[in-house]
């Protein structure tokens, strides 16, 4: 029983981190219909930047979020301006190929800078735990999970309470009309791309403390993230958060109670079968692509 409670609490904390990163991916899709295959690569990049800050300057990795997030945000803003914007009218499959290429380039660059060996960030508290009525909760997990929730809530507030958030939602609903009422859709889109990637960067800083990583880890991450957003319905923020929690629980429970050998297949299988049975995901609505009015 204690083991189950511990597993559930841990998986909810992990789910919170997944939710943060996945919300960035689904936000980008919702606003600009771009599936950012490089999302996992930028998560790993966030982890490597955090690693260098911790290794060279002794900066606590969770404080490092304050540095990695703006850096990755700036990268995302630049990438949108330079690469994504020029092909915004191309078929969606083109942007998938583009961001896939971007993921490969990022993987290669990280391999050149940090090497292709497994890296881990180990601050002093990494081996310490909280004890609560027989339940052991590693401090890193607790801090990481809570930090993820804080960043996620901040993102949520930006989207729902600010003028920028309204502009983002207007640009997502109808770019042409948003332009007409004075929203600079290009600027908004660049901000969103930056914000989305920043979520990945922040997530990278946090997960870097929890799991070892290498440049090639991004495949696993993008599979996991796609499984989450696809399950929740592409473009749906609520769906992404919900399915991230479900996914976190499913993954942790599988790892604890079932063979871990097949566990790597879980995200791929979810993507494959969910898209097969319900292409719009769980909470997503099917796009009405034939909305001609007579």
């Amino acid at each position: 029983m204690t083991e189950l409670v511990q597993t559930l609490v841990l998986s909810l904390l992990v789910g919170g981190i997944y939710a943060l990163v996945a919300s960035g991916l689904t936000l980008i899709f919702g606003v600009m219909r771009v599936i950012n295959i490089a999302h996992g690569a930028f998560l790993i990049l966030g982890a490597f930047i955090t690693y260098t800050l911790w290794d060279q300057l002794g900066l606590d990795p969770l404080v490092g979020v304050l540095v990695t997030t703006p850096v990755v945000f700036g990268l995302g803003w630049l990438i949108y301006r330079l690469l994504v914007r020029p092909i915004r009218h191309a078929p969606m499959s083109s942007t998938v190929l583009l961001t896939f290429g971007l993921a490969l380039v990022t993987e290669g660059v990280m391999g050149e800078i940090w090497g292709n060996d497994s890296t881990s960030i180990r601050p002093s508290y990494v081996d310490q735990s909280f004890h609560l009525g027989g339940v052991f909760l590693p401090k890193a997990q607790v801090y990481g999970g809570l930090l993820a929730v804080v960043v996620l809530v901040a993102l949520w507030l930006i989207l729902t309470k600010t003028w920028l958030g309204r502009a983002i939602r207007a640009a997502a609903a109808n770019p042409a009309s948003a332009e007409l009422v004075g929203i600079k859709v290009t600027s908004v889109a660049a901000l969103v791309f930056g914000l989305g990637l920043a979520a990945a960067g922040a997530g990278g800083a946090i997960t870097g403390v929890l799991y070892p990583f290498l440049p090639g880890s991004h495949y696993l991450w993008i599979a996991r993230l796609l499984a989450i957003v696809v399950l929740g319905g592409l473009g749906s923020l609520e769906g992404a958060v919900l399915s991230a929690l479900v996914f976190g629980i499913a993954e942790t429970v599988t790892a604890v109670y079932v063979s871990p050998a097949w566990a790597t297949a879980v995200p791929y299988a979810i993507v494959f079968f969910v898209l097969l049975i319900r292409p719009q995901g769980l909470l997503g609505t099917r796009l009405r692509d034939d909305a001609v009015t007579a």
Binding site: I35, L83, P86, I87, A90, P91, M92, S93, S94, T95, V96, L97, L98, F100, G101, L102, A103, L104, V105, T106, E107, G108, V109, G111, E112, N116, P215, Y219, A223, L226, V230, L234, A261, W262, T264, A265, P267, Y268, A269, V271, F272, L275, L276, I277, P279, R288, D289, D290, V292, T293, A294
Partner: protein
């Protein structure tokens, strides 16, 4: 073919020469390829060519499903791996059998698995499909890693060492791959010329529309997927044997798929030779990066960078870029054909023997051809069509009018299953057709045009018309579409609508009115009993409106029944009888034009109380300015 090229000859005489230049280059390259192992025993270059051949086969296969049908797949490498593993597993379990005997089985396995992927493509398209193909590849890889008893797991499999003369060690691999590539190219070439090929391109351009002109989506996509994988599997088998050692990380590496996709994109997606050219550009680059630039990360930078650059700067690929450059040089400073006058058209009788006049005097009370009963469709809380019922008598030109948003186009979409109805019945010639797919409805005699035309933009006018399939049969899919009887029938219809001179123009270059005419020809190619026209007179000039109503009358006299949505009141009221009025998703009135104009509910909801239409009654639709105000 030759007769018609002569007619359109003035516009492009040098094209003929260019084709021969291209063919000459291909011939010389082919001869060099065949002779190379005989002339040189440089194993480094032989290896490079062998790997290029593998990717050329894979990319050419990919061109069928990605280039023609538009389903972008990053899982194509899986078929190389599946072919390799089929041969690897069989030859290690049966060490005494000649390894070459397993090659056809590699194709069968790849084709079988492709069928599964094709099944996926029945439901998912666009970016979802790309994601699925990546997931599919990784899933196959995980299975290969974990199914140790069959695949040997991560340790991989060692295939039997070739037993032939080491002096010609590479020859059997080299020449069998050349042979497979030739077969693959023949297959790709043949498919492009058939009804199947035009069907696949139509699916790429507009899948929903393709279904409404009779293209059986599941069957054609399935065939496309299998055709894109079988020979790739065989090639993968040869590749595995050539490597003599295979493991899941190598054979199901995502980079194999990326390289295949790159070869296709670099060369030109929808071209025959592009994938081959691309493979022979990308693979040598890959070898160079591996051997001279440190491999590993450099390879990632190369592939990733190339992918980004191609998508950004050369999305159409090298061969199409060269072609459009040559076209630009040739046509520079000349006026395009698109601005030319539309032909005056001809009478149907002089054009084709496929139609015969219908004597309609005999049946004074014609049976209903289309019967819609209590049809319903809601979008969320909005009831777009809310229990609409109407009857289209056989041989009539029936009108359907109503205010904007009253559900007219949605009703059309429900009738041809572009959108699934929530409830209600649709009968065509007495038979229930609700529950049938769009293409099955088209095969039963339903044709439909769109308010905003939906031609296949990247196809020529002629291809747009031949793409229509008026029935389904396996044999028909293999029929050559671009010449012969299919093309002749299409040209007759283009002549009729006055668009024959534009037959080789791309549809996207046409004006809106011209597109309306081509779309009509496309629908006529289905030889439908009932034609649904969505605003045939909308957005076109008055002369064309007259021609349109003339054609509708003539087609009607040859037995075609029409249901027309139109806001141009003189046009509708002069042409149609009966007329149905739709309001808030229901039929609010039906009757002759005279009755409709007097119906107080219709006047109130749609026509307006100052509506006067003398012209329609006088039978001269366009002499008097219309007034169709809405209040």
């Amino acid at each position: 073919m030759s007769a018609t090229t002569a007619e359109s000859a003035p516009s492009d005489p040098p094209k003929f020469d260019l084709i021969w230049v291209g063919r000459l280059i291909a011939l010389v390259a082919g001869v060099l390829l065949v002779l190379y192992p005989i002339l040189s025993d440089n194993l480094y270059y032989q290896n490079m060519i062998i790997l290029s051949l593998v990717f050329a086969i894979a990319a050419s296969g990919l061109s069928i499903i990605t280039g023609l049908a538009g389903y972008v797949s990053l899982g194509q490498g899986a078929f190389i791996g599946l072919g390799g593993y089929t041969v690897g597993v069989l030859s290690t379990h049966h060490p005494d059998t000649n390894v070459w005997l397993w090659m056809p089985l590699a194709g069968v396995v790849a084709g079988g698995v492709a069928l599964i992927l094709g099944f996926v493509a029945l439901r998912a398209r666009g970016p979802s499909f790309v994601i699925i193909t990546v997931a599919f590849l990784f899933l196959v890889q995980v299975i290969a890693i974990n199914w140790r008893s069959l695949s040997g797991g991560t340790e991989g499999l060692s295939l039997p060492i070739p037993t032939w003369d080491p002096d010609i060690a590479n020859w059997p691999f080299y020449y069998s791959l050349v042979g497979i590539l030739v077969l693959q190219l023949l297959l790709a070439w043949w498919i492009r010329r058939t009804k199947l090929g035009t069907g696949l391109v139509a699916i790429r351009e507009d899948e929903t529309k393709a279904a409404t002109i009779g293209i059986n989506l599941p069957v054609e996509k399935m065939i496309g997927f299998v055709a894109s994988a079988v020979l790739v599997g065989v090639g993968g088998g040869v590749y595995g044997y050539y490597l003599t050692f295979i493991d899941p990380r190598g054979m199901f590496n995502i980079l194999l798929s990326v390289e295949t996709m790159l070869a296709l994109l670099v060369g030109g997606k929808a071209t025959l030779w592009g994938p081959v050219l691309g493979a022979f550009i990308v693979e040598p680059l890959n070898e160079y990066a591996n051997n001279n630039l440190g491999g590993g990360n450099t390879r990632l930078l190369l592939f990733g960078g190339l992918l980004v650059l191609i998508v950004l700067f050369l999305p159409q690929g090298v061969l199409p870029a060269i072609e459009s450059l040559l076209n630009w040089l040739r046509t520079r400073g000349r006026a395009g054909l698109v601005g030319a006058r539309i032909g005056t058209g001809g009478s149907l009788a002089s054009l084709t023997e496929r139609l015969s006049l219908v004597d309609r005097e005999a049946a004074s009370d014609p049976p209903p051809l289309l019967e819609v009963t209590d049809l319903r469709k809601a979008f969320g809380g909005l009831k777009a069509v809310d229990g609409a019922s109407l009857v289209v008598p056989e041989g009539s030109i029936t009108g359907l009018i109503g205010p904007n948003g009253s559900g007219k186009t949605t009703l059309f979409n429900l009738i041809d299953n572009t959108i699934h109805a929530d409830g209600g019945q649709i009968r065509l010639a007495g038979e229930r057709i609700d529950g049938l797919s769009s293409w099955a409805r088209a095969h039963r005699g339903l044709g439909r045009t769109y308010q905003i035309t939906r031609l296949f933009r990247e196809m020529t006018v002629l291809e747009n018309v031949v793409a229509a399939q008026r029935s389904f049969s396996w044999g028909q899919l293999g029929r050559i579409a671009v010449s012969g009887s299919e093309a002749k029938a299409a040209e007759e219809l283009l002549e009729y609508v006055g668009m024959r001179a534009f037959r080789d123009q791309q549809a996207r270059a046409l004006s809106f009115g011209q597109q309306k005419l081509v779309e009509l020809a496309q629908v006529l190619m289905l030889d439908p009993q009932l034609i649904l026209l969505d605003e045939p007179a909308g957005g076109i000039n008055p002369v064309l409106i007259d021609r349109m109503s003339e054609m509708i009358r003539e087609l009607n006299s040859y037995g075609k029944t029409f249901l027309i949505v139109e806001h141009n009141m003189p046009f509708v009221l002069g042409l149609c009888d009966p007329v149905h009025v739709l309001g808030r998703g229901r039929t609010m009135a039906s009757g002759t034009p005279a009755e409709i104009q007097k119906d107080p509910a219709v006047v109130d909801a749609y026509l307006g109380d100052d509506f006067v239409l003398e012209a329609a009654e006088a039978g001269q639709p366009n002499d008097v300015p219309q007034k169709a105000s809405q209040t």
